[in-house]
């Protein structure tokens, strides 16, 4: 039986796995201690739980537990990694390389550092969403201290070639930070075989709680040091002060453990659902464009533009399904998705895009319902679309003199 509304926005956040909630509950009341309390059993119990979670998170990405710093989420992890490295390695240089399609937590952090003397290169991406590795190689200078490239993209799901990017960085003696918020727990990520020095991840994108995340900081070959961005009691080896969010950290640990266990089965299942959704939509509709490569993609992501239909009006028609659009009308800034714009496909396709994010609790029935509903609404809106009519009349829309406003 279908239950409404259907949730297909798992890149925005995921529902908590009930097993995660069960693991967390004792740490709100009975085991409420401060993990930094060294001289009584309340503190010891909290510390033990935190250290267990640290191992669970480390295991998910092939790290050791001493390399995990708990934070409030991936935004904070990204800020700490980039600002902390910039400050720490100021003697070595001031150049940072990132990409145009990064999350705002990376881009806006870099923009702020530009005001403090950083020189930042924002690599363009190819039409398939991947960065050009030769361009990366050419962009590294003797002043480059950090490359920050996300693992899997939050909008178009494209998976960058992090192992190769890591090799390039290692050869040139430059640190690699990766925002693995969308990838960790979904596809295999290993800080050693991928040559990653700093890695951000978040609890609530992998069926854990909101408000907790982690930053992996390499301890060996090379030993990475960061300047703390939050000062205080010197928690987390001095890198991130603040009383540890014990229940959240326990939840993050459990979520990481479950994701690692379920990944082989889930990644296959989600990719099959994703492919089914794509084939159902493309079977019934013409002029449907996939944004980002299908070759290197997160298994649970599908980002499609339905040409000549505006995204927000489409969302309005499928209001029993929760998804996101790259349309300007759905964003706070009233700008269409900068990620889609970076692919060079044109703003019109950004306005027409829908992001589907499949999750642990998505059913095949929900996929079928979604495909049918989206197909119906797109057809209806195309009946209403002057653009679709013009194209069917053989008019080349690029040759029309539009009154841009």
């Amino acid at each position: 039986m279908l239950k409404f509304p259907i949730y297909l926005d798992n890149h925005a956040t995921t529902p908590m796995d009930p097993r995660v909630l069960d693991a967390m509950l004792p740490y709100f009341q009975d085991l409420f201690g401060n993990a930094a309390s060294r001289n009584h059993s309340f503190g010891w119990a909290a510390e033990e739980a935190v250290e267990k979670a640290r191992k669970q998170v480390a295991a998910l990405i092939g790290a050791t537990s001493k390399e995990i710093v708990f934070t409030s989420g991936a935004t904070e992890s990204n800020n700490l990694a980039i600002k902390g490295a910039f400050e720490m390695y100021a003697q070595k240089g001031n150049h940072i390389i990132t990409a145009a399609t990064e999350h705002k937590a990376v881009l806006d952090t870099c923009k702020r550092l530009e005001k403090h003397g950083a020189r930042v290169t924002y690599l363009a991406v190819r039409p398939d969403g991947l960065i050009d590795l030769d361009l990366l190689r050419e962009s590294i200078t003797d002043k480059t201290i950090l490359v920050s490239i996300m693992y899997g993209n939050n909008e178009i799901g494209t998976v960058q070639d992090i192992p190769e990017i890591g090799r390039i960085c290692r050869e040139r003696g430059v640190l690699l930070h990766t925002d693995a918020t969308q990838a960790a727990g979904k596809i295999p990520v290993n800080v050693n075989s991928d040559n990653i020095d700093l890695l951000s991840l978040s609890g609530h994108k992998m069926y854990g709680p909101k408000g907790v995340g982690a930053l992996y900081v390499r301890r060996k070959n090379p030993r990475v040091q960061l300047t703390a961005q939050i000062d205080g009691g010197g928690h987390e080896r001095g890198m991130r002060s603040g009383t540890l969010n014990v229940p959240g950290i326990v939840g993050l640990g459990k979520a990481a453990e479950l994701s690692a266990q379920l990944m082989p089965e889930e990644s296959v299942k989600h990719a099959a659902m994703r492919d089914r959704l794509q084939s159902l939509l493309t079977a019934e509709l013409d002029e449907v464009y996939i944004n980002g490569t299908m070759e290197r993609r997160l298994p649970h992501n599908l980002n499609i533009s339905f040409a000549y239909v505006e995204g927000e009006s489409l969302l309005m028609g499928i209001n029993d399904i929760a998804v996101s659009s790259g349309s300007a009308c759905t964003s706070a800034t009233l700008e269409p998705s900068y990620v889609l714009k970076a692919l060079g496909a044109g703003d019109d396709l950004a306005h027409s895009s829908i992001r589907f994010g499949i999750g642990r609790f998505t059913t095949e029935e929900e996929i079928d319902y979604t495909a049918a509903k989206v197909t119906d609404v797109v057809k209806k809106l195309r009946e209403l679309s002057p653009l679709y009519e013009m194209v069917k009349e053989g008019i080349d829309l690029t040759k029309v003199e539009w009154s841009a406003h």
Binding site: M316, S327, C329, P386, H405
Partner: protein
């Protein structure tokens, strides 16, 4: 964001969707907006040349729900008015009728532009015809 009931009503049951014959001398067509801005409205009026009254109006819109509702409402407002009365329609009437929030006011502005563009197209065509009639 939550839509007003009136926006939802026009979105779910858009009035006067369709196209009139662009070549008909009594038909004025307005096409405003741009695909890269995320909204394009096509609004057409059919005027009775004897009375100057708009007898029919049709629209097609690529845009958000508020843009669709604004143009749907515009076609309703146009029917039965004379061309000169139609020129008096202000976007604020659309804003009030649909209870559009501030971020959607541009949709009503676009609808007003579409009305003006359709009328100006009609007048240009009528003017040419009148000129032709005089020289004949």
């Amino acid at each position: 964001m939550a839509y007003s009931d009136k926006v939802l009503d026009h979105y779910n049951n858009p009035r006067n969707v369709g196209s009139l014959d662009k070549k008909d001398p009594d038909v004025g067509t307005g096409l405003v907006g741009a695909p890269e801005c995320g909204d394009v409205m096509k609004l057409q009026i059919k005027v009775n040349p004897d009375t100057g009254i708009i007898e029919d109006a049709k629209f097609k819109t690529f845009g958000c729900g508020s843009a669709i509702a604004s143009s749907s409402l515009a076609t309703e407002m146009l029917k039965g008015r004379t061309v000169d009365e139609a020129l008096q329609i202000k976007n604020t009437e659309i804003v009030n009728e649909l209870s559009l929030p501030p971020v959607k006011i541009h949709c009503s502005v676009l609808a007003e532009d579409a009305i003006k563009a359709a009328i100006s197209d009609y007048k240009a065509k009528a003017g040419v015809d009148a000129g032709a009639a005089q020289t004949a």
